[in-house]
Symmetry: C2
Subunit: 372 residues, 2 copies
């Protein structure tokens, strides 16, 4: 946060800052989605919807799981939410009782801790090993699962490592958790953004996991704040009641806009963007190791690279500060992704700007590292 | 809820149901707001905003307090939120520690309990007296304030009674709470909808209260899910951090749309609607007592009447069920607004449909009550 503010302040002073710290792609919201939003405005469709979302949107999401991903999801399992954030809040509250422990991958998305705490739960780091590319395995999950653990959460593809876990393996872990009166929550908000294998979902391989997703990343709908969750049917009534009490309903125009997300034209745009991101990834993964910045995570998805900076510093936060001041390149220090995985060795690069800017960033980083 | 579902089921069967249970006015979103939303779409303005909202919107809200309501509010005190629901969540979390007690007016808006519980607090009813028209007073507040109480919440105008409290009196109560290491939270989401006196805010009379507000009711932006809070400046950084973690940001297009809420043209539309609601209120308050349905609350604001139905039944829930089945009129039983104020004596009527429909409702209720 302090770095983000500093980056903005430098930019306001006229410095050219390369923003490789931002978790929001540089693509505009796809035209068919914008057109659907415009049509909803034309119709004056701005009143409250049901708490779990427009029935047509729940059905469209379920249909997309069945048709595009081959997972047997029904509309009754889908709850549309105010962003993935809203989904996380509902899921944590539905699954945790006060004092229950939740294992959160470390490194991992930092806000998840807040949702556990909000539900009265106790967040515990599920510490991952750089020797395993920070990849979660069933063994590691079992080893860290405790007597009071009721939930474990993992993202695939993951922020900050880009790791993509095998769907069948995830379903196996979900089954294992269910056998211990617990639940595996899988964050699939980067689902469509996979580079070495087609998109997959844990729901194609089993029905025990609870899944979080969002229109923000793959469908480019960041500022609309619209997400969803998929849960076993028995859990949905409780989740719907919470949604009714906490949110009343997700935003109406955003829901009508999202109905266009699964159109052929939108999916084509999303695929073109995925290919653009893949080219950016290739450019970076081919160049960074030569600068003494090896990529530690799998980098198979999302738009992040997690880099080992220990050849240059033993304090990645100070390194980020100095790089920003001297080279005008903004990155995110490992500390933002957890405290238990030796974060001072790592930093995250988000490839959310175009190739020309990324090349410029590589130049500046190389110059910076060559200084005496 | 059960009644709402039954009303919808009957309507789906082709019955003509008069919906006097709905807390959403029948007016469309004002044209200038829709136009501003359309312009934001044209510009492609759909990316994330800062967590506390667009600076221009925070400034516009503060300016409206200063110019239209005469309250010295600055932009730094304003946090834009995903609906008043988001504001409630932030405020409760910022003000309550686990185990702290919060007094909630009974009768009052039922979801407030959920936000207290979510923050780890313990909701306690602040039981109001029908002999005082269910109106909160400083004496009543002091009498029910306990050792562990850290917060009291009141709405003005209020749902379900329509009570409007004097701003100076509210500020006095806020000062009293502050003197006891506590806070008065004032829900002003029906602020503009006052019928016997101009709109007011507690913030014109003091700076100790925390205020919740929304674009939903007065500005007719229900489905957009946009609200705000005003807090003492010292509280705002903590609230902003929570907002960043929980919501990332309020919806972007909704915020651009809301910038048009304070336009002269929009305020004129809002005023016309207020006058329409006032005519509906007059029609009802002149007719209902003659049916043996006296109005208990002050009915000075919002769009609700709280009615004493004890001349006809000792179970207002059963009465509502029967009236729906036999007369096709949907009302809300008192139980939805708290358990401690003898809710079985009361029901709420929302005048959210036009005068012709209200006259029809009066006819049907009269017929129903005259049956042997």
């Amino acid at each position: 946060m302090a770095l983000l503010e500093r980056a903005q302040a430098l930019q306001a002073q006229g410095r050219d800052i390369l923003h490789l710290e931002v978790g929001e792609p540089d693509f505009p919201c796809p035209a068919p989605i914008m057109a659907a939003a415009g049509a909803a405005l034309e119709r004056g469709d701005t009143r409250y919807t049901p708490a779990a979302g427009l029935p047509a949107l729940r059905e469209a999401i379920a249909l997309d799981y069945r048709r595009r991903l081959g997972a047997p999801v029904t509309a009754e399992q889908v709850v549309v939410t105010p962003g993935a954030s809203g989904a996380l809040q509902l899921v944590m509250a539905a699954l945790l009782n006060p004092g229950d422990e939740a294992l959160l991958c470390d490194p991992g998305y930092p806000c998840n801790r807040q949702f556990v705490t909000l539900a009265g739960g106790v967040p515990r780091p599920l510490t991952l090993d750089p020797a395993e590319q920070f990849r979660l395995s069933g063994e590691r999950l079992a080893a860290q699962w405790g007597e009071r653990t009721r939930l474990a959460m993992v993202a695939s593809p993951d922020n900050p490592t880009g790791n993509r876990l095998d769907g069948a393996e995830l379903a196996e872990m979900a089954r294992w958790c269910a056998g211990r009166r617990g639940t595996l929550v899988v964050d699939e908000i980067y689902q469509g953004l996979c580079y070495d294998a087609p998109a997959d979902t844990v729901l194609r391989h089993g029905d025990e996991a609870v899944v979080i997703n969002s229109f923000s990343k793959y469908f480019g709908m960041t500022g609309w704040r619209l997400g969803w969750l998929v849960a076993p049917r028995a859990l949905v009534p409780a989740i719907e009641r919470l949604a009714q009490n906490w949110f009343l309903a997700p935003a109406t125009v955003a829901q009508h806009a999202a109905l266009a997300a699964f159109d052929e034209e939108t999916l084509l745009i999303a695929e073109q963007r995925r290919q653009m991101l893949e080219r950016r990834r290739t450019l970076l993964t081919e160049s960074l190791p030569a600068l003494g910045l090896p990529v530690v995570g799998g980098a198979e998805g999302a738009f992040y690279l997690y880099l080992d900076v220990s050849a240059h510093t033993d304090d990645s936060f100070a390194f980020c500060q100095d790089l920003l001041e001297k080279a005008g390149v903004a990155l995110t220090p490992g500390l933002d992704f957890g405290a238990s995985h030796q974060p001072e060795r790592y930093l995250r690069l988000a490839y959310t700007c175009d190739e020309a800017r990324l090349r410029e960033a590589l130049r500046r980083i190389a110059d910076y590292l060559e200084r005496p």
